[in-house]
Subunit: 452 residues, 4 copies
Amino acid sequence: MAPTTPTVVVPIDLKKKPNEQKLTLHNRWHPEIPPVAEVKVGELFRVEMVDWTGGAIKDNDSAIDVKTLDLSTVHYLSGPIKVVDEQGIPAKPGDLLAVEICNLGPLPGDEWGYTATFDRENGGGFLTDHFPCATKAIWYFEGIYAYSPHITGVRFPGLTHPGIIGTAPSMELLKIWNERERELEETGLQSLKLCEVLHTRPLAKLPLTEGCLLGQIQEGTPEWKKIAMEAARTIPGRENGGNCDIKNLSRGSKIYLPVFVDGANLSTGDMHFSQGDGEVTFCGAIEMSGFLDLKCEIIRGGMKEYLTPMGPTPLHVNPIFEIGPVEPRFSEWLVFEGISVDESGGQHYLDATVAYKRAVLNAIDYLSKFGYSKEQVYLLLSCCPCEGRISGIVDSPNAVATLAVPTAIFDQDIRPKSSKVPVGPRLVRKPDVLKCSYEGNLPTTENPGARI
Amino acid sequence: MAPTTPTVVVPIDLKKKPNEQKLTLHNRWHPEIPPVAEVKVGELFRVEMVDWTGGAIKDNDSAIDVKTLDLSTVHYLSGPIKVVDEQGIPAKPGDLLAVEICNLGPLPGDEWGYTATFDRENGGGFLTDHFPCATKAIWYFEGIYAYSPHITGVRFPGLTHPGIIGTAPSMELLKIWNERERELEETGLQSLKLCEVLHTRPLAKLPLTEGCLLGQIQEGTPEWKKIAMEAARTIPGRENGGNCDIKNLSRGSKIYLPVFVDGANLSTGDMHFSQGDGEVTFCGAIEMSGFLDLKCEIIRGGMKEYLTPMGPTPLHVNPIFEIGPVEPRFSEWLVFEGISVDESGGQHYLDATVAYKRAVLNAIDYLSKFGYSKEQVYLLLSCCPCEGRISGIVDSPNAVATLAVPTAIFDQDIRPKSSKVPVGPRLVRKPDVLKCSYEGNLPTTENPGARI
Amino acid sequence: MAPTTPTVVVPIDLKKKPNEQKLTLHNRWHPEIPPVAEVKVGELFRVEMVDWTGGAIKDNDSAIDVKTLDLSTVHYLSGPIKVVDEQGIPAKPGDLLAVEICNLGPLPGDEWGYTATFDRENGGGFLTDHFPCATKAIWYFEGIYAYSPHITGVRFPGLTHPGIIGTAPSMELLKIWNERERELEETGLQSLKLCEVLHTRPLAKLPLTEGCLLGQIQEGTPEWKKIAMEAARTIPGRENGGNCDIKNLSRGSKIYLPVFVDGANLSTGDMHFSQGDGEVTFCGAIEMSGFLDLKCEIIRGGMKEYLTPMGPTPLHVNPIFEIGPVEPRFSEWLVFEGISVDESGGQHYLDATVAYKRAVLNAIDYLSKFGYSKEQVYLLLSCCPCEGRISGIVDSPNAVATLAVPTAIFDQDIRPKSSKVPVGPRLVRKPDVLKCSYEGNLPTTENPGARI
Amino acid sequence: MAPTTPTVVVPIDLKKKPNEQKLTLHNRWHPEIPPVAEVKVGELFRVEMVDWTGGAIKDNDSAIDVKTLDLSTVHYLSGPIKVVDEQGIPAKPGDLLAVEICNLGPLPGDEWGYTATFDRENGGGFLTDHFPCATKAIWYFEGIYAYSPHITGVRFPGLTHPGIIGTAPSMELLKIWNERERELEETGLQSLKLCEVLHTRPLAKLPLTEGCLLGQIQEGTPEWKKIAMEAARTIPGRENGGNCDIKNLSRGSKIYLPVFVDGANLSTGDMHFSQGDGEVTFCGAIEMSGFLDLKCEIIRGGMKEYLTPMGPTPLHVNPIFEIGPVEPRFSEWLVFEGISVDESGGQHYLDATVAYKRAVLNAIDYLSKFGYSKEQVYLLLSCCPCEGRISGIVDSPNAVATLAVPTAIFDQDIRPKSSKVPVGPRLVRKPDVLKCSYEGNLPTTENPGARI
């Protein structure tokens, strides 16, 4: 056997639930979740993973599963994996863990994914004030390509990547997270100056025991309760990497993660077949189960050597990434711009979030002229290989953000046409197949963003 | 003569000042600034332009010109240019003006540019709290490449583009601009919740007569005074395009601008040899004089056909852009991440501006380990072809922004090295050639961001 | 189960020989080899395949298996596969069969490959007069990357593709092949005017019963004998596609194959992890076993619609290919040139073969200055993602051919250095690990191309 | 003035003939043609050049100028330029001259070019047996794009490059050239085994006084006569570089030329706005006048250090090239294949020239189905950015060559369509505007390749 067949260190049985897997998954960050496997530097190993909801979202035409999803249970992660050097000495706090993504893909027999918008009462998304309903689109894979029965007329190659990859935090780092997020949760509503849109989304998700899964630590035990009350939720990306959602982290990428605990305790999950920059619908990539083939190096003392703390403690750092050399080539892009003026005409000061929101809304409105409902475009821009850029962040008072959409993913020419060219009849898509869980008050193309 | 030699419709004499040019320049947006030239659709025409300061910044080793720049005079624009169709009928409000950038470059004999940071008391920049001093780097061009005596060891191909291209606003649109920006200026200091860093930068630049240049309208006349008191400043990008600073708008790009006045009244300026996404130092691209070869089409009724208002009036729109097919290929990128936690450790809610700030600071700190001062890296990241992305904007409470730097622009390998590879001595650069206008209290690598 | 899980229509058991597989393989082209499977248009199906030698070459340090390989047995192909439309009607002669390559890769547990040079007495290669000995290099795969213990210091992403994909010829087409190749074989030696180098290689491989495997037709039967005496060898690419060795036929590619028999009878094999243009050593890609996920369309009457015969009969056509959108990005290439003057200084008239030979020899000599033996570079250029171009084919008397090598595959800078830059000690590679089957008279760097 | 404004060392006045220019041009290679300028290493300098015919081909609708072109006069080159180091010491035989192409483009006021086929009695082309008539297409430039009134419906960005760049040969090298080409000319007709097509083209162009221009050496003098009788013609690429026609030698490229005489004596000419690999029609790029901005380095002793003679003397070497990082991105290519079987069905042994001929013929036939005449496609494939590859050169008896055409250059979808998609009416182009100099016996689409 060739030395480069990856060893499966975390196997997944798709017929079982997250807590029934041979190596139980976890959905929180905590230093005391025990490793389920150990790997040596230089070893090629495979980590299998469920989709971020652990199978709660089904391949069908109804969004009821999205509407009722229990967000306390996500994301289900595979690991932690302890990393040791050739002499068996574990990675140590202060080291950098370099993780190369050698290969990845769907699990055989499970070559499909989904993109969804949450209900505004259950997580919402970037444009929840415009799109308050739960919606869902299913995607099927044909090798590198994805296509959807719910958003017809598009097909694109995926730049597949794990949404989440990170090391375990130390107790000290965990405390920093909990404190700063609790402060936001408690004081945020008073002071928040973002556009009103986002007000109704939860500000921060603090530790809670509900839905908590901690790997090999049995639910309900005192140890489990203690950890569950301390452990950080997996939604935001943080100093340990985590849910960074960087769409280019595909084959050939290398991630330099800070190490906070002995053995590094690497976890990963939330595989995406494809994602647009920003992952705007929140459940926004093409979410899937899958496998990762990884190889680790330890850079001893690398945190001090390469990372500079950006905050009050030496732990306020961020990972560094090297992007791989393989990605789809697109030659033509249509670029939508947004400035930091909100939908009510209000001026915001260099606010890239507002500017990006407007760029996305502009793109949705434009593309909905080509036979799609706005809900379809919102889902599409969340998961297709579009690029979201901060173009200008200094020209007071307007931040300029742009969203670039590759034109080749459409089966029609979506560029503006000179007045001289007679435009053929635009294709009529089937927005009705996009099922929404609300009866009687569906958002429609005529009534976008209807509030229930 | 071949039919495709461009007609020079706006010539520049580099030995003259902006108000001495044959076709006087302008530095404000107003519908009543009269066109200086007329072009037909399909015609290839050349527009020459001064650098955004009109020659105020010199090719030398001192930043005193940057420190003392009068910002009321920028940006000097060429135009307005009236656009008519083949029958001589002007573009009308409600049309789209499609402007193709066929070619561009420096003016012969002026193949250099500069990147600068403003003093925090005079405009500042994205990181003015960390870098409060005026600094300047000169760049020389060797065809597609730029190199700097002030930031040695880097050389990169430029993706040259105009920072500003736009149509004239109507009076109605101008009024919208002035009102929303005045409201920010007046109420902003009380309510602003951005990280403290940005507090001291001017919030909005309202109309003022000081420094105002209005093309063929003579300074001091009642007409000049009236317009100067109404005309919008050119700093922010707005509904008419303007200072959008989109770094990929190079050869082969096409810009679809809304038309608000008869003839469209196209103006352009602020040529950049190269810019990084965000243009973070504010005077942040490689600023230069230059020429643009353009070709226009009119899409009659295109605003209604293709743009959807995103705000209370039909004028709340944004241009659309098509990127050209030619740009430098880079195969390897090092990516720095930022989350919306500020330097004091404070948590912000999905704030992409804060996240991008942290990504840029992370990149500056990292790259300063390779023989550069932080001031040098700040200038470099503002003007080299780096990409600033909004990677995740939904994972409460953290926005994730990334800054991707192409590794090939450096003459050394800047990637983190495994602990096993002995690292050679890092190159010592010459940060001292970066002159700062403050005596006695220079920011240094040991004392970054010293406040004066 | 998702509808896009591919159905395995040709399974391979790596522990068995080609003639022991459940669906016996074949190594000849003939219309009467019966299909082993049937697929519908639009169906995603998987074809597994052995490496081209059916496992004869082993993962070890000796080239004795290469030296003694029985070339009468190659290439082992999977298929034929009958293709029918949605109504079950087979593809017909005159149709085009569009085959999309949706995915491909190594078989699990078999993630390795080899590149080899044949002995000049047993097949040789493009440079057999310079490199007459059998040599072999083993490559291991780490996801998208390959590396070799026999050619250290290089690592590159593969552009994996099937070397052979084709439809079955009709009896009429088969007759054309046999006649023209027999004529060459019989008259070639007298008239051949190519550089002497190539003289000793076999001119054409005519049908022979030795080594012949014909799928489900049992060896030794009269039917088998009849077909074996008629069936075309698989070495050359021909009108049916076949061994076209186009290195860019990777994920997302689409191949438009002419159909000559009912059902099309598609066969494929000879998987390559990576190949350089020209595949110069003959066993020259990184040869491997693997799987292909395919999807077919039938374009009824497409041969007449899209292909124009280029010869005396309507059968003298060639397939058309669409390349997929995903391939490794390389930004820097070193380009070696050759002109149609041979190694003895003799002038050839616009001979692209001679020009390409000289370009490859130039590249070998150049790269051997960086610590490699010439044998190592010859193997490397045969399998790495280098591009072989016909740059000029009209400038009498010299054809100009070029070979472009991506510099990023090396762990050292291989570009020529200015005389001012002190060059560090070049790395010493281990050419001795490249085992050659000749005792006592190995080609060495000092004695390249020694004739035995 | 900035230090990087290029010094014009060879100016061109487009109103004057080649022998009337201030620095007279030359159209032969000889060591005794005296330098017209001297440059230092590191200096940025500009070389202007006429088109290869020195203005003989006009911007009009008649091909009579092509039919009657005196080929004894081409190519007109600018130079020679003597290169010295910083101490003023010239480049010496045995050095390498590294020439960086910093910028290039058309001369102002002359933004057009042409592609032509020669009459088979006057130079012919790669497919002269199929296309025996003189034809011509004019191209106009709009910045990076070219379009033609004679081949409508295509528009593409140019990858502009000099067709010819080279150093002066030594007398010894010149003697080698003359001998080997004379031998071919004298013995070629008897032994030539290429496909008949090429028979009637001139085999080699030997020195002749007719049409000879030798820079500052006055015509008719004894010195002129002596040199003219010895000097090599400029048609073929050779050991000194020369007419290498490598289409990717654009901005940012670096060429490592061997030095054979003191000062290197660099000459350049034959600017191409764009060229396809192979430049198949012979006058086959978009031929234009233009300028090159260059910068030289001398690598002392570099010939021995980096080049290995491939022939009986140390002079049998070839230049090395580094390709620049900027070229048009194309994402979709249609690939045509050819094998070494000629149009009469005859089998050739691994003959890449025959294979490439068939690939080009296949592409011409295919594309002529989309509203073009075959003559138009022949011209188009000669000058558009298509790639000609040697895909397989070892699979006896067939060489496989491919021609990849970027689909984005057409204003219609040129891919084969599934039988289910109704194809719209194909556009009717205007082949008649392609003027041919033969009266009464034009090749037509119905009668391609008519022999006169």
